[in-house]
């Protein structure tokens, strides 16, 4: 599904060049539930942005569903994003002057679905996430958890292959975070690849694979079976803190 080969990325900061990703090799299969962890500055958000075609990379190759993602025109990238990827952000990124239903329906606008049809589909998705009564509310009338659920509905409406979530629980309290993670788990069980970036161990522990980044390189990959081990380590870490 996703195949990264020796990906490098650096940012120009004035005269300095900041080398963020220093050769990432990574394969993620269809249906995986992956979390990317790492301290701040380790390049986890950058990696996610490259995966989501929100940003480009300097060196290496990135294949998404068999297509090489490199030097694409903006138009082509937009089309790929629309077809393949759904985004969930830490700060929700809902359009403030559109109500919940319109926000959810927006990806379908760019797919060319007629207004009535897409609003109807948007309502279905809102219902799935238990927000049907909130369809006509504006984002600023909703709680963080509700906003994130609207954002998830928006990510799902275009029936993507991958959901990319950048700190989806970063702005939420623990209970709401777990609700959101449950939703993401359900989505994953429906066969959609879910990749989240997080720095919270308990959130990461809910996924089936953890990729730890350190200084722009993959430090370790913890797979399904080793998760229990990871949880133990996490408890230890907590104790030492």
């Amino acid at each position: 599904m996703i195949k990264l080969n020796n990906i490098h990325k650096s940012y120009e900061m004035g005269n300095n060049s900041l080398h963020v990703l220093k050769g990432i090799d990574l394969t993620i299969e269809q249906g995986d539930f992956v979390s990317i962890m790492g301290s701040s500055g380790s390049g986890k958000s950058t990696l996610l942005n490259i995966l989501g075609m929100l940003d480009n990379y300097d060196k290496g190759t990135y294949h998404l569903a068999g297509n090489l993602i490199a030097n694409m025109s903006e138009k082509k990238a937009a089309q790929y994003r629309n077809d393949m990827v759904g985004f969930v952000f830490q700060s929700f990124n809902l359009i403030s002057f559109k109500n919940a239903m319109e926000n959810v329906a927006l990806p379908l606008y760019y797919k060319g679905v007629p207004r009535k049809k897409r609003n109807q589909i948007a309502l279905e998705y809102l219902e799935k996430l238990g927000l049907k009564e909130w369809a006509s509310h504006m984002p600023n009338e909703m709680s963080g958890g509700q906003k994130q659920r609207v954002a998830i509905a928006r990510a799902l409406i275009s029936q993507p292959k991958i959901i990319l979530a950048d700190e989806p629980t970063g702005a939420l309290d623990t209970a709401t975070s777990y609700e959101v993670m449950d939703i993401l788990k359900e989505i994953n069980e429906a066969g959609i690849t879910v990749i989240i970036v997080t720095h919270e161990h308990d959130i990461a522990a809910m996924t089936r694979q953890i990729i730890r980044l350190k200084d722009g390189q993959i430090h370790e990959i913890i797979r399904n079976g080793e998760l229990k081990q990871f949880q133990k380590e996490y408890v230890k870490e907590l104790e030492t803190v």
């Binding site: 940003d55 480009n56 903006e74 089309q79 985004f87 002057f97 319109e102 760019y110």
Partner: protein, 416 residues
């Protein structure tokens, strides 16, 4: 890619951002509104003054006799100059002179018809006077060449004389007694821009014969064909020289003959109006530029304000062109509607001013002196300036929209 969905999306955006929409629209509407008022007032002023000049032919010239003030060929000053019939021929031969007419004043003359009578001014003339003074013939005809040749006893009376003597009955073909001599009424006329039409016109030759004028004339009225001040002054010079030769006075002698050159006056006044018009245009263009800058500013802010929204839209699959289209169409829609509103309000106000002026002037509108006439703007200018604003708004929106649409969505999303 025209489809109803784009417009729904735009209308939804406009509806949710009323203040922004209002500000953009207001600066456009105000620019056009002010431009319309400025240009309308300028046009009104210049139309009004031009109309006043049109009361006589703009290229009219009047020459009257005087006394010499410069000694010439051994003759002392103070010698009166007297015009005779041949002077008209001399003047008419000067190149650049159009039509000309000699005039002989009779002083007050008594007109009577039946029991009615009154004293009116009689102007004796040749057919050309009608063109010099732009006389309006309400009925019948003016003095013609045959009248002159045959010394016919015919008269063209002003409307006031007709009303006074004939009341409602027909005057044409009737005979009026002028200083006890019967004259046939052949025409009824009025003067443009005058509320008093108490002049009567009779053939010069007839008057000279009947009222003992021999071959004397008192002044000359003529038109000249000149388009510039210099040309008209050259003609003036030639006329002075020709008459000076005939009557033996120095052509530079301003006192020997009096001369009023209406064209000179007209050209000078029109020059002033040209200057005023240029001034108004400068202010108008300034207003327009202020409007354009206003629109540009607001569009820059709009794009800045919407950077994050653009990032979101791009993240969920908007192509750069659809983002640019969204912003541009919104700006064009707002400026078009606002420009149209400004256009309608501006021209509407000027039309209203025009309407009330016509109303207050009453039925005498075309007879009275006015300095403000038809203060309206050429509709093409109005439309072009609106289009200019729309294009300016589009360009002003396009550049930042294009930039915003081409930045990476991740950068746009980071923008707070």
């Amino acid at each position: 890619m025209f489809d109803i969905d784009i417009w729904q999306e735009i209308l939804a955006t406009i509806k949710k951002n009323k203040m922004r929409t209002f500000l953009t629209g207001f600066s456009v509407a105000w620019g056009i509104f002010m431009l319309m008022i400025l240009l309308g007032s300028g046009n009104g002023l210049s139309n009004g003054v031009a109309a006043n000049f049109m009361n006589d032919a703009v290229n009219a010239m009047w020459i009257w006799n005087g006394e010499t003030t410069i000694a010439y060929e051994g003759m002392k000053t103070g010698r009166p100059i007297r015009f005779q019939n041949q002077d008209q021929e001399i003047v008419s031969k000067v190149s650049g002179v159009g039509v000309s007419s000699g005039r002989y004043f009779m002083g007050n003359t008594r007109y009577s018809y039946g029991k009615e009578s009154g004293e009116y001014t009689t102007i004796t003339c040749q057919p050309a006077l009608k063109d010099v003074e732009n006389l309006i013939l309400n009925e019948g005809r003016f003095v013609n060449q045959i009248d002159i040749i045959q010394n016919r006893k015919v008269v063209v009376i002003g409307t006031d004389i007709k009303t006074a003597l004939f009341k409602d009955s027909t005057a044409l073909g009737e005979y009026v007694n002028i200083n006890m001599v019967p004259f046939k009424v052949v025409g009824i006329c009025s003067e443009p821009g005058s509320t008093r039409n108490r002049n009567a016109y009779m053939p010069l030759s007839t008057a000279q014969m009947i009222f003992n004028g021999s071959n004397k004339i008192h002044n000359l009225a003529l038109t000249i064909n000149a388009s510039t001040l210099e040309e008209s002054q050259a003609i003036e010079e030639q006329i002075r020289t020709a008459l000076g030769k005939q009557h033996k006075f120095d052509p530079k002698d301003e006192g020997a003959i009096g001369l009023y050159n209406k064209l000179e006056n007209y050209i000078q006044t029109m020059k002033i109006f040209q200057a005023i018009k240029i001034f108004i245009w400068i202010i108008g263009v300034g207003t327009l530029i202020a409007g354009i800058v206003g629109v540009s500013n607001i569009m820059l802010i709009v794009v800045k304000e919407r950077t994050k929204e653009i990032g979101i839209r791009k993240a969920i699959g908007a192509s750069p062109s659809s983002v640019v289209g969204l912003i541009l169409l919104e700006s064009i829609l707002i400026t078009t509607i606002a420009g149209y509103i400004g256009l309608v309000l501006g021209t509407g106000l000027m039309e209203m001013v025009n309407y009330f002026m016509v109303q207050s002037a009453g039925p005498a509108t075309d007879q009275s002196e006015t300095i403000f006439l038809n203060p309206t703007v050429d509709i093409n200018i109005a439309i072009y300036s609106t289009l200019l604003l729309i294009v300016a708004g589009a360009v002003a929106g396009y550049i930042p929209a294009k930039r915003a649409a081409s930045i990476k969505p991740i950068v746009a999303l980071r923008d707070e």
